[in-house]
Symmetry: C2
Subunit: 345 residues, 2 copies
């Protein structure tokens, strides 16, 4: 049993895109679990866009990470010692451990994983928060109907690929948007999108919109929103009457603190608001942590599809805690291919 | 029976706020009704903000009025001659006659009015499209709950006053926004709002927001949106988690063609979009003409409340077709007090 652990703290708040300077790798004694707690050795940690929001101190649905605090995040790991009923050393668990090699966690916040039901990393991606986000947003707020057209950006990411695959299986035309030709090939060839547009090949929203019109000749019924910016600007005028927009993120605007004008878009507030009115759009923001009651339904429906290969899994795995900041910076810049993980052991 | 009628046509498309030059008063022969049609002498015509949208040729939910075409609009009038079963001379009817003294209309598009159930002008306001818009938007998309707080602008208009009175009767705290101290007095003393803010006393969204915070100390659960601009900018950061925004108009942006930045606001697209995400807002655009199936339910619920005085009616009546353009220009500038009508006979 080691007596020292590593963790990554928020050294300073980023102005715009985060840099390595915003993070500090620190060493600390491995903590002792109290009553009802377990000590976990993290095997894989998840990197997700929402973490960018926690680095700011703007009002949001979650408190910001304090300066000097451990960066937040989910992970899967092995129980080393347990002071909680129902958990034993060797159990694999999912929890919000943070960017850390070891963590003490309240057993009530953990979900025990069954490695026989597939790779444990799925609990961080396709069968975890991102996949659950895609499923819930699509089914609850997207209200998909066969024959309609869906557009989703970050199409090869864990949310976008879930949305696209589910929509395709329900008989929708699916149009992905991704960064670069390799990701577009992945979107169509592996995730089954009917079309994929490389947003990097389009310098502005107008050009992107022309490509979208071609890929979605009947207009857009569902735009699953996770990026904002140029893509949102391109999409809004193409929304069909009675269209639906589940809003689960706006990654392109995170680095602007969510409040800047956005470097890659000239979208004005009226141009964003007017299509909601004139096309009777239904726009719903959500965060999946408000909907844990739906998790059993999600797992019951989607886990079998992952096991039998109907829903594909693509992961991008960085090695070592020290590479987490770089991988995260890359994630915000779209450098990852598939679900971004960090392997710690 | 006269053989000449007057009507007002769209002479040119406005750039920004409409002017008298955009309208032309014309004389034409009174048309003859064909089979299934009736000839109507219009007694009152309605002026409504949506008409500004029809003067542009931007894509919207309805076709623009062509240059030289009669301005569109609803009215109530008397059947002069009828070639339709079920309609007789002397019947009072509601229809989309346009800005005109006489019109031939397909009887299937008309609703016969019973003058014994209240003044026929109610069919253009509190019991017509504006009142129905307020009721449907509030009940369907606002999902009001006792103890919550509702904000609506144009609080003394026919939509806003309906929304406020209904919400108050359901146990909500109601905060109106109106232009000028007289309208604010009307909002609180006659329409029963708990508070009213004079937006003209606040030069920018920040100042207006401070006043709103004071009037809505527990935040805003429902923002019934009919104005856009400065009010929207002030409201968005005050929306509570799980808040709802029915969107039925954006009058402050109509004169900008719905696409300009808006002279009175610095609201950016990300600042508008981000609260939807972080506060899980539900934003629904609608136009009441998609929901005629709900009209019987609306009339059954609200007509008795109008007759017994629970729902108040305030009308602003211009005299003569020649004064319709001026009254409409004033309406867009907030000069009317209550439902704007034009009396033609």
């Amino acid at each position: 049993m080691p007596d020292q652990m590593q963790h990554i703290t928020l050294a300073s708040r980023p102005k715009g895109a985060p840099t390595q300077d915003n993070f500090a790798m620190e060493t600390a004694p491995v903590p002792e679990p109290g009553a009802g707690e377990v000590l976990v050795r993290v095997h894989y940690m998840s990197l997700d866009p929402y973490m960018r929001g926690r680095m700011d101190d703007a009002k949001s649905y979650a408190a910001p990470v304090p300066i000097g605090g451990t960066m937040e995040g989910g992970g899967v790991g092995e129980v080393l010692t347990s002071n909680a009923d129902g958990f034993s050393p060797g159990d694999m668990v999912l929890g919000m451990f943070g960017w850390t090699t070891h963590a003490v966690a309240d057993a009530k916040t953990l979900r025990k994983l069954n490695p026989d039901l597939g790779p444990i990393t799925a609990a961080l991606g396709v069968l975890g928060m991102p996949g659950f986000t895609g499923w819930h947003g699509l089914m609850e707020y997207g209200r998909p109907k066969a024959g309609e057209t869906l557009v989703v950006a970050a199409a090869t990411g864990p949310v976008g690929s879930m949305v696209g695959q589910l929509a395709k299986s329900l008989g929708l035309r699916t149009v992905g948007i991704a960064g670069g030709p390799d990701k577009c090939t992945l979107a169509t060839d592996r995730f089954g999108f009917d079309a994929c547009i490389d947003h990097r090949a389009h310098a502005d929203a107008k050009s992107l919109r022309t490509a979208l019109k071609h890929a979605a000749p009947d207009g857009i019924d569902i735009y699953f929103e996770n990026v904002g910016g140029k893509v949102l600007e391109a999409v809004m005028p193409l929304m069909n009457p009675h269209g639906r927009i589940p809003v689960c993120g706006m990654i392109s605007w995170y680095n602007a603190g969510g409040l800047g004008a956005g470097a890659d878009t000239t979208l004005s507030a009226p141009a964003l608001w007017r299509p909601i009115l004139v096309n009777f759009l239904s726009v719903n923001g959500f965060i999946i942590s408000n909907h844990w009651d739906r998790l059993p339904a999600f797992l019951a429906e989607v886990a079998p599809k992952v096991l039998n290969g109907d829903i594909k899994v693509v992961e991008d795995i960085a090695e070592g805690l020290e590479n987490a900041p770089g991988a995260f910076i890359g994630l915000l810049d779209g450098k990852n291919v598939g679900k971004q993980l960090v392997k710690l052991i």
